[in-house]
C-alpha cells in the first residue's frame, strides 16, 4: 500500500471513522451498563448502528451561524482542528508495517501537535461570541497548558529511557522490565491525557451544568460533529501514544499486532468510561493546584528517577 492509500483507508481516514463510530457506541453502552440500564438497543442489532444514524442525522441539520459570530473562524475552526489531530494519528504505528509516516522525531512532532490544540479550541469558543462559549474557551487554554507539562515530562521519561524518539524503535525496544520501570510515568501520562483532552473528571471546559457545553455550545449539525470527532481523535491519538510508549505497542503473543494494539487502547478506553461514570468533576483552581503542585513535581521526580536508572544500566 502506498502512503496515500494508507492515509485514506487503513490506519487513515476510513479506519478512524469506523473506530470512532464504535467508540461512541461503546461509551454509551458502558455508561448505560454502569447506570444499570440497557443503552442503545433497537437501532441495528444491539444498537450497533446508533452512532451511524447520529452522524448522518447531524449531516442533514441546518447550518446556523449566530448573527454576531465571526463567520470565517466559526466555519473554519472545526476543519482545522480535525486536520491537526489527523496529523497526530499519522505518527502512530498500529503494527510493525501499518503506519503512515515514520521519522526520527515522531514523539516530538506528536507532542507538538497536541500542544498546539488549545488556541484552536479557544478560537472556536471566541468566534461564536457566546458568553458560555467564551468562558469555555478560556478554560480550555488554562487547563490544557497546565496539563501539557506533565504530559511532556512523562513522555520525555520514556524517550530518555529508550534513547530514541522513533515510535517503532521504542516499541521494539520495550519489554516487561521497561513496563515496570515506566509505570509511574505511565500513570502520570494517563492522568495528563485526561486533563489535556478534558475527559471527566477534568471536563471543566465543557461542564454541562456550569457553562452548558463550553466552546461547543453554539455549534450545531456538521460543525459540531467534526469538532467532537476531533476531540475524540485527540484522545485516541494520545492513547495510541501511551500504548506505544509504555504498554509495548503492537507487541503480543499469537494475535497479529494490530489486534493487540486495539485491545490495549480498548482497555484504556474502558477505564476512561468507568471513571466518567463514577468520579465527580473537580474545580478549576483545584485542577490547577493538582497540576502544578502535585503532577508536575511528580513528573520531574520521575524523570530524575529514569535518568538515574539509565545511569546505573549504562
Amino acid at each position: 500500500m502506498g502512503p496515500w492509500l494508507k492515509a485514506l483507508i487503513f490506519p487513515g481516514f476510513l479506519f478512524l471513522m469506523l473506530v470512532f463510530l464504535m467508540v461512541f457506541y461503546v461509551e454509551r453502552k458502558i455508561l448505560a451498563d454502569a447506570h444499570l440500564r440497557t443503552g442503545p438497543y433497537y437501532v441495528g442489532r444491539w444498537g450497533l448502528l446508533q452512532t451511524l444514524a447520529d452522524v448522518f442525522k447531524l449531516l442533514q441539520k441546518e447550518f446556523i451561524i449566530q448573527r454576531r459570530a465571526n463567520k470565517l473562524l466559526f466555519s473554519l475552526i472545526p476543519f482545522v482542528a480535525f486536520l491537526m489531530v489527523a496529523i497526530l494519528v499519522a505518527f502512530i504505528p498500529f503494527s510493525s508495517s501499518s503506519f503512515i509516516v515514520s521519522t526520527s522525531f515522531d514523539l516530538l512532532i506528536a507532542l507538538a501537535i497536541v500542544t498546539s490544540m488549545p488556541p484552536i479550541f479557544f478560537y472556536a469558543g471566541w468566534a461564536s461570541k457566546s458568553k458560555y462559549s467564551f468562558i469555555g474557551g478560556l478554560r480550555v487554554v488554562n487547563q490544557m497548558i497546565s496539563g501539557e507539562i506533565p504530559l511532556w515530562l512523562s513522555a520525555l521519561a520514556a524517550a530518555v529511557f529508550y534513547g530514541t524518539l522513533n515510535h517503532i524503535e521504542i516499541v521494539q525496544d520495550s519489554s516487561w522490565l521497561s513496563f515496570i520501570v515506566l509505570l509511574p510515568a505511565f500513570l502520570i501520562f494517563i492522568t495528563a491525557t485526561l486533563i489535556v483532552t478534558d475527559r471527566p473528571p477534568f471536563d471543566i471546559p465543557e461542564a454541562e451544568q456550569e457553562v452548558v457545553y463550553g466552546f461547543l455550545t453554539e455549534f450545531g449539525g456538521f460543525n459540531y460533529m467534526i469538532l467532537v470527532l476531533s476531540k475524540l481523535i485527540e484522545l485516541f491519538g494520545l492513547y495510541g501514544l501511551a500504548v506505544t510508549l509504555f504498554l509495548g505497542g503492537f507487541k503480543g503473543p499469537i494475535l497479529p499486532g494490530i489486534v493487540w494494539f486495539l485491545l490495549k487502547i480498548f482497555a484504556l478506553y474502558m477505564f476512561t468510561f468507568v471513571v466518567r461514570a463514577s468520579t465527580p468533576r473537580i474545580r478549576m483552581d483545584q485542577l490547577l493546584k493538582f497540576c502544578w503542585k502535585a503532577l508536575t513535581p511528580l513528573a520531574l521526580l520521575n524523570l530524575a528517577f529514569i535518568i538515574f536508572i539509565k545511569m546505573i544500566f549504562a
Binding site: 461570541k129 468562558i135 461514570a277 465527580p280 483545584q286
Partner: protein, 388 residues
C-alpha cells in the same frame, strides 16, 4: 450614562459598550453578566443573573416567576374537596405533604375529627413522598458535578415507590389521594405489601450500593466540603428551611416539634449536621431517607383497623387556621381562611424553597463560578414551590 451603580457594584450597560474600531468580542468586558437559565441544564425554569469577573462570582440576582400559576388565587375558585388538585401541584416531587397540610387546616376549621387509620395512611404516604423527593434530590446533587450514575441508581429505587403509589391511587405522581376528611382510597393489603417491598429494596440494595460510591467519595468531598458554609446564627437570620437549616445545626423539624398525623406516636430522630456546608446538606438528605424508611416500617406495624374517611361538609363555617407541615423541602405553612362558603376564601402557602432561594445572593458572594451549581443544588429547591 455608561454604567449603573447598584448594591455597591458598578455595572456597565451592554448597549453602551459598542466601541468603535475592531470588534474584540467579549475580550474587552470586565464583568460578564451570565444568564444562568432559563434554558440551562442545571437551572430549571428560573434565571440567575450571575455577574462574573473571570472565574469569580461578583453578584447573583435570582429572577423567578417562570412557572407562576397563582395557585393561591386558583384555590379560591375551587370547592373544598377539589382544591387538592391545585394544592398538590405546588410541587410534584412530594405532593402528599402539601395535600396533608391543606387537609389538616381545612379539618381544623370545620372541626372534623379524622379516623386513626387515615392518620396512619397519611404518615405512610407523606414519608413515601419524602423518600421519592429526596432520591431525586440526591441524584441531581451528584448530577451537577457531572456524574449521572447517582441519579440513575436513585431512579431505580424511586420507581418502586411510584409503583406502590400507583397501586394505591391509580396515578404515579398526581395521586390526589389525601382529601379533607381522610384519604380518598381504601388502603389495601396489596399496597402495604408493595410498600414493604419498596423499602426492602431501598434498605438492602440501594443504600449499600449508594453509600459505598457516592457518600464517601473523595472527589465529591473535595468539591463540596467547605462550599457555601452557613453557620447556625446565619442560617436562622437568612431564614433557611428544611434540610439546609438542619445541616447548619438547628434542630427544627415540624414532625417532632408540632406532631401532626401519626407522627406523635412514632419514634424517629431529627437529622442534624454542624458543618453547614454543601456536603452536610447532602448528608442530611441521605440520612433523612433512612429515617423515613424507619417511620414507614413503624407505621405499617401499628396500622390500625377502621374507617379510612369521614364525611367532610360541603360548606365550612367561617374561621381560619395556620398549619405547618414538614414537607420534603422544609416547613410548609398553610394559612387557610374560610368565609362560610363552599370553597376556601384565601390560602397562603408559606413555601420553604422561596425562603431558601433568597439566601442565594448572600451565600454566593465571592465564590467560583463552578460552585454556583453546587450551592444551587445543595439548597434543594423546587421551582413550582418558589413561584406557586
Amino acid at each position: 450614562m455608561d454604567s449603573i451603580a447598584q448594591a455597591g457594584f458598578t455595572f456597565v450597560l451592554e448597549e453602551k459598550k459598542e466601541i468603535s474600531g475592531e470588534d474584540l468580542g467579549l475580550l474587552q468586558e470586565k464583568l460578564l453578566q451570565l444568564n444562568w437559565g432559563v434554558q440551562h441544564p442545571a437551572s430549571g425554569p428560573m434565571r440567575l443573573k450571575v455577574w462574573v469577573d473571570g472565574d469569580e462570582v461578583v453578584k447573583v440576582d435570582p429572577d423567578i416567576g417562570y412557572v407562576l400559576r397563582l395557585l393561591e388565587k386558583l384555590v379560591e375558585y375551587r370547592t373544598w374537596i377539589n382544591a387538592i388538585v391545585n394544592v398538590e401541584r405546588a410541587c410534584f416531587m412530594d405532593n402528599f405533604g402539601t395535600m396533608t397540610g391543606y387537609s389538616i387546616a381545612a379539618e381544623k376549621i370545620a372541626g372534623v375529627e379524622v379516623p386513626k387509620k387515615a392518620d396512619y395512611m397519611r404518615t405512610i404516604l407523606c414519608e413515601g413522598g419524602r423518600i421519592v423527593s429526596h432520591l431525586v434530590g440526591l441524584g441531581s446533587f451528584v448530577g451537577v458535578l457531572g456524574v449521572h450514575t447517582a441519579m440513575q441508581w436513585a431512579l431505580i429505587a424511586r420507581e418502586k415507590f411510584l409503583d406502590a403509589f400507583e397501586l394505591y391511587s391509580g396515578q404515579r405522581i398526581a395521586t390526589a389521594s389525601i382529601i379533607p376528611g381522610g384519604v380518598r382510597f381504601e388502603p389495601t393489603g396489596k399496597f402495604i405489601e408493595k410498600m414493604t417491598k419498596a423499602i426492602d429494596f431501598l434498605e438492602k440494595e440501594f443504600f449499600p450500593r449508594y453509600e459505598e460510591v457516592f457518600l464517601d467519595n473523595p472527589t465529591l468531598k473535595l468539591r463540596t466540603k467547605g462550599v457555601g458554609v452557613v453557620p447556625k446564627e446565619k442560617a436562622i437570620e437568612l431564614g433557611l428551611a428544611g434540610p439546609p437549616l438542619r445541616a447548619s445545626g438547628v434542630t427544627s423539624d415540624i414532625r417532632k416539634d408540632y406532631p401532626y398525623a401519626a407522627y406523635g406516636e412514632l419514634d424517629f430522630n431529627v437529622v442534624t449536621r454542624e458543618e453547614g456546608d454543601a456536603y452536610a446538606r447532602y448528608c442530611v438528605i441521605f440520612e433523612e431517607l433512612k429515617e423515613s424508611a424507619k417511620i414507614i416500617r413503624q407505621a405499617i406495624e401499628g396500622f390500625p383497623e377502621g374507617e379510612y374517611r369521614t364525611k367532610f361538609p360541603v360548606k365550612v363555617p367561617p374561621g381560619e387556621a395556620y398549619v405547618n407541615v414538614e414537607w420534603a423541602r422544609g416547613c410548609f405553612g398553610f394559612h387557610l381562611i374560610s368565609d362560610g362558603g363552599t370553597g376556601p376564601y384565601r390560602l397562603k402557602m408559606g413555601a420553604p424553597s422561596f425562603a431558601n432561594l433568597w439566601a442565594i445572593p448572600e451565600m454566593m458572594k465571592g465564590i467560583k463560578l463552578a460552585d454556583v451549581p453546587v450551592i444551587f443544588a445543595s439548597l434543594y429547591m423546587c421551582h413550582g414551590d418558589i413561584d406557586r
